[in-house]
Amino acid sequence: MKNFSDIIREVGVIMAIVKNSKQLGNGYYRLDLADSIIARKGIPGQFLHIKISSDNVYDPLLRRPFSIYDINRDKGIVTIVYRVVGRGTQILKEVDRGNHLDVLGPLGRGFSTDWKNKFLILIGGGMGLAPLYFLAKKLVTSNRVLVLAGGNSEEDLAFFNESYGLLDLNLLNATLDGSTGYKGNVIELFEEQLSYYNPDYIFGCGPRGMLKRLKEITEEHNLMGEISLEERMGCGYGVCLSCVCNTEKGNQRVCKEGPVFNINEVIFDGQD
């Protein structure tokens, strides 16, 4: 167990209390954590690094990164939304209300949010819609926001359609199976939209292949914007160099200089 004095002095490593953990359907889960420090400090695009195993148990060994999906500052609650993909998330979904979770965060560089009276397009693929929700919530108060949400099917997008639906923004879907919205991927939808609109700035989050295409398009159209990357993380706070990505400035750490980068900066080379 962490010493209580550590917890108070060293913000950043926090025993957060699970307020709620529930299945959202279609393999999505939602986890609400009560922690006033994270709730006060977290901004859109930042992430939490969550220890899955209990104290003195070393399998799974590493923490797992999850973007902040939402924060209720008044209640001191921070929320993540995640999908079960492997062992770590399998275990995470079993946590019960009242349990403590060892959380490191908020970590990384978030999205820029100081925009006023602009037209902004947010492009999210799959789980990439999670961090964009918190961003959208901040942006809608003083900007015009269009969200393009891509997924495999209507079902896949159901949760996000519902949550984004409560915000003052326009939302368009792209589904691979065409079960709702545009039939195709979200980048194609974005390209289509660019024939109607000229955004001041764009934000993207999703699989690497999608972001790579997004960059090609923004370059073509001379657009500016930010994207959030994912890489396997060792530490999450900058010491191990597991998570680097190639940029115009050379290698940058996704956990520290990112996960949000200027879209012009990122160089998509090497592995997909």
Binding site: V13, K51, L61, V239, C240, L241, S242, G250, G270
Partner: protein, 304 residues
């Protein structure tokens, strides 16, 4: 930490306590600022330096295994020149010994690194990482050949006036033979162990997980092997040993000290928990109190 004497002698170095960070798992020490004051520890070992800047290996660079971590960072670092220009100043702020880890692909590389670092009093010692492939010698790591370990150590000693720590690779048949080679070449201290060579395969993609195929295995999974090597070497050499490999708790650290290590380094644990070093230190302290032991030195090699 009241009446308990945690100080240890590491050959020419004196540490106020035996807990260090392991190279490559604490960057240049600066990222810890947000978590705790690294000056609480005995010493820090910063990440591996090479002569030329190195951008490291392809992603993915890590894979989690049961109780372990495979890494193939590939010694990403800005190179010695940029290090001297941009980082030496930062290290000046540390009040504890700062040890610089150096790597090379030829015996001459080590000599030149030692030479370039020789002028800087900000550095308390060099740690020589002999786990990289010897390009001139067909690619086997220096650390697997006692003759090469001898030559690298000798060269660094000739070019560096301060303390030289030689960090051994565990991927060998006879660790004692390698340790003896380093000792006879004049090493002041030995670090053991570096990572075990391993790999993981992605059964969905049907290919190796790491971009580099092979990686170094660290973390609690390797502790039994590390401890055995420290135990074997401690019986056969006179110079002090820094023990490492899977230390997550004070108990783990004490196992290494009982096996003959003078100090310990915390590696992978830093990645899992930025407070790990401090936690290990506190738990060692608590153990000494509980067992009424006044000096950590009393425990050194007690299980031999």
């Amino acid at each position: 930490m009241d009446r308990i004497d945690l100080s240890v002698d590491l050959g020419p170095l004196s540490l106020k306590n035996p807990v260090m960070t392991a190279s490559g798992t604490c960057g240049y020490g600066i990222e810890f600022k947000d978590y705790y004051d690294l000056n609480k520890l005995g010493a820090i070992v910063i990440k591996g330096l090479t002569l030329k800047p190195c951008s490291g290996n392809l992603n993915p660079r890590i894979a989690e295994t049961t109780g372990g971590l495979l890494n193939s960072i590939g010694l990403e670092n800005p190179g010695i020149e940029s290090f001297i220009k941009n980082y030496i100043g930062v290290l000046r702020d540390f009040k504890i010994p700062v040890i610089v880890n150096i790597s090379g692909h030829a015996v001459e590389d080590f000599a030149r690194l030692a030479d370039k670092l020789a002028p800087y009093s900000e550095i308390s010692a060099l740690e020589v990482n002999v786990s990289c492939p010897n390009l001139a010698g067909g690619g086997m790591a220096f650390g697997t050949d006692s003759e090469l370990v001898y030559r690298v150590t000798k060269k660094v000693k000739e070019n560096y006036p301060g303390s030289v720590i030689v960090k051994l690779s565990p991927n060998v048949t006879d660790i004692v033979e390698i340790a003896r080679a380093a000792e006879s070449a004049g090493a002041d201290v030995l670090s053991l162990i570096n990572t075990l060579l391993g790999m993981a395969i992605d059964v969905e993609k049907q290919k190796p997980v790491l971009g580099n195929i092979f990686g170094g295995l660290s973390g609690p999974a390797i502790k039994p092997v590390a401890l055995r090597m420290v135990y074997q070497v401690a019986q056969q050499v006179e110079i002090p040993i820094i023990g490492m490999g899977g230390i997550m708790s004070g108990k783990d650290a004490l196992e290494f000290i009982l096996a003959g290590a003078s100090a310990v380094a915390v590696g992978t644990a830093n990645l899992v928990d930025p407070l790990a070093g401090q936690k290990v230190l506190r738990e060692i302290h608590d153990y000494l109190i509980k067992h009424n032991i006044e000096r950590i030195g009393e425990l050194k090699g007690k299980a031999l």
